[in-house]
């Protein structure tokens, strides 16, 4: 006992010393001013390389950073004040942990003195990082954050911009596609809707259910299943027993694959089959081949757009893999937004944010602007695998919408 009491003060002294030396080391952040010619512009990036969201980030997020950096540098760099500056990207792995995301963004802002920081990956990590982006005045051009709270968030964090859309129009467009198919006499009125019990699935379900009912659909089956469910046979069997005309799953990557394989095995006969995230991954089509034909999914692109075709070819050439047909191009587009703003107003982050708020941007997805409450109002919402190509079949204010086709069998 005595020994212990003697030791206790030591603990506190040690900690004090450490804290003080830590504080002494904390040099004030250098505000980057003018760059010498050829100095690189430093971009920071924090996103999952490991953890539950790593699989999605490896398809959608990281390859686009690599592609963009390669292309910009091949073209000489970003033009600031008449000089071309190469792009340098500092990458951190946040291990899908919001605490690490926060620390990574902090580190980029204050230790690495990054000129700009690329937004993280996934709704939760985006929003966890928002206060730090805000504190240091970094513009945050969000991609994989789908939320209905956009205007509140943009109110609190004025430099936060949203590119991929909001929850309600997202769910609404799925219902719109189904309604159009029903009104054309292609499918009946019976709808089965399931969701993965995680933030994303729960939000879309909450938004989608009333919309489906308002559109006059009869909900014959609705349920949720936990993230990480290894066998989705009971869900698909329940759906099958309810004999719906259309099936909608607000799903995440592992279960998007699991549901579809099970639906294929059970021979689920529906005129419209929708799964959400990862349906647009090239791996989805590669795995299910013919059976993927006419499956609806979240996202979509206009594959006939020359700028997109060019982007897709470059993506395959530089990264060795095809982009996904939803958020990949948007991720790239968000980097173009940053790039074009920097070229317009220079490295002053406040000016860049102000520019993003006002200007029109030309991206691989087509034109984009953020004048409505920091929200890009032109985005794809529903796509469909049509003969090996994932085509957008519904969008908010985007051109090139294809007609949705009837799902006929799993051959």
């Amino acid at each position: 006992m005595i020994q212990e009491e003697e030791k206790s003060p030591m603990k506190f002294q040690r900690r004090t010393v450490l804290k003080l030396s830590a504080a002494a080391l904390a040099a004030p952040a250098i505000i980057p001013g003018r760059l010498a010619a050829n100095d690189p512009i430093i971009f920071g990036a924090v996103a999952p390389k490991t953890g539950p969201l790593a699989g999605g980030a490896a398809v959608t997020h990281w390859p686009n950073l690599q592609l963009w950096q390669t292309q910009v540098n091949a073209a000489g760099g970003i033009m600031v004040d008449g000089n071309a500056h190469p792009v340098e990207i500092i990458e951190y792995d946040d291990q899908t942990n919001p605490g690490e995301t926060i620390r990574g963004v902090q580190r980029l802002a204050t230790q690495d003195n990054a000129h700009f920081i690329i937004t993280p990956y996934g709704t939760g990590l985006h929003i966890a990082a928002a206060p730090i982006f805000d504190r240091y005045g970094y513009p945050q051009v969000c991609v994989t954050a789908i939320t209905d709270q956009g205007s509140e968030l943009a109110g609190q964090f004025p430099n936060m911009f949203f590119t991929l859309g909001a929850t309600t129009p997202f769910a609404g467009d799925v219902i719109r596609v189904l309604t159009a198919m029903r009104d054309a006499g292609q499918i009946g009125n019976r709808l089965a809707m399931v969701n993965v019990a995680d933030a994303f699935g729960i939000e879309l379900m909450a938004a989608g259910m009333p919309l489906a009912e308002a559109a006059g659909f009869e909900l014959v089956y609705e349920t949720s299943y936990p993230l990480g469910t290894q066998d989705l046979a009971p869900v698909i069997n329940g759906v099958k027993d309810a004999a719906p005309d259309a099936f909608v799953a607000w799903s995440y990557p592992p279960d998007t694959f699991g549901l579809t394989e099970q639906a294929m095995i059970a021979g689920l006969e529906v005129g419209a089959y929708y799964t959400a995230v990862a349906t647009s991954f090239p791996g989805f089509n590669a795995r299910f081949e013919g059976a993927a034909n006419n499956i609806l999914g979240a996202g979509g692109v206009n594959p006939d757009l020359p700028s997109f075709q060019e982007y897709e070819a470059a993506h395959i050439e530089v990264t060795g893999q095809a982009p996904d047909y939803w958020a990949s191009a948007t991720t790239y587009g968000s980097l173009q937004v940053l790039q074009q703003s920097i070229e317009a107003v220079g490295l002053d982050r406040e000016a860049v944010s102000a520019h993003i708020k006002e200007a029109d941007f030309d991206t691989v997805l087509g034109p984009m602007h953020f004048r409505d409450n920091n929200f890009n109002q032109a985005y794809w919402t529903v796509g469909q695998w049509q003969d090996g190509v994932f085509r957008g079949v519904a969008s908010q204010n985007r051109d090139g919408v294809a007609a949705a086709r009837l799902k006929e069998g799993w051959a």
């Binding site: 003060p9 603990k11 990574g104 206060p131």
Partner: protein, 312 residues
Amino acid sequence: MMSTTDIRTIAIAAVAIGVCALLPLVDQGYWLSIGVSIAMFTVLATSWALFSGPTHYISLATAAFFGIGTYVTGSFYESVSFWLLLPAAAIVGGLLAGIVGLATLRLSGVYFVIFTLGLAELVRQVITWAQNMTGHRGTYVLLDFGSRSVEEVIYWTLLGLAAIVYLAGWLIGRSRLGFALRIIGDDEEVARHSGINTARAKVLLFMVPGAVAAATGAALAPRYVYIEPALAFTPLLSFQVVIMALLGGAGRLWGPLVGVIPFTLLWEVISATFPNQTTLLLGAAFLVIVYVLPRGFVGLLERARARAGGGA
């Protein structure tokens, strides 16, 4: 009775915590965010060791209580003051720990370990399911503390919690409960024969980390802003806490602290320097520590002390 050493200990502790509290005045950014991590793991690991040190039970339930705490804040912060939510979360966490303790502390060794792990997953599933049933839209904690930044307030809150945990640990060490626990830790049979209610002692003590972890979760919710089960109940947290506490040494009140600080800094250095091999190197560093420091940093320090003492 308070001896002079006691008074000195308390005074030095108070000064030390006071000095730590100055950190936000020096740096609001990077070092403060590391400070938050250190403070958080100090609170969690020290309270964990209060129970696991003397009883040798390894609990992996930290994430369960932590997650419950974040949900207490996430669900009620709009209607109830943030400062009331912290004790509320502590009460909820403590009660749950009490119930769990009553049911399970007769399990021995590894069964208890896996049980607590299952508990965290069970709680997470039930909360997710309830959220789904109520058609809950995303849980956002947008708190504003006026002129003070959220990070700063959270840091001070965690320091306050750390002070409470140390005080509690110190008092328990001096109390009948602490005495009973030490006997239980040495030999449970002996304890039972000498008339100690071992079950009650263990349950009471298990409530401490439960309550503290819940309060920590409640305090950190505004930092995460967006609360979702996968992030709030991440099993990794439970393992991190165990590992930091064991690295430091669970047998001493100050043991976990000497595990938390080097580990957090090491984690930070590895994350910053090797972004593509972060996980690989963390694992490797970890293995090195396990093999080189079998008794934790406490063991190392005590050996060094013993050697110094022997030489003198």
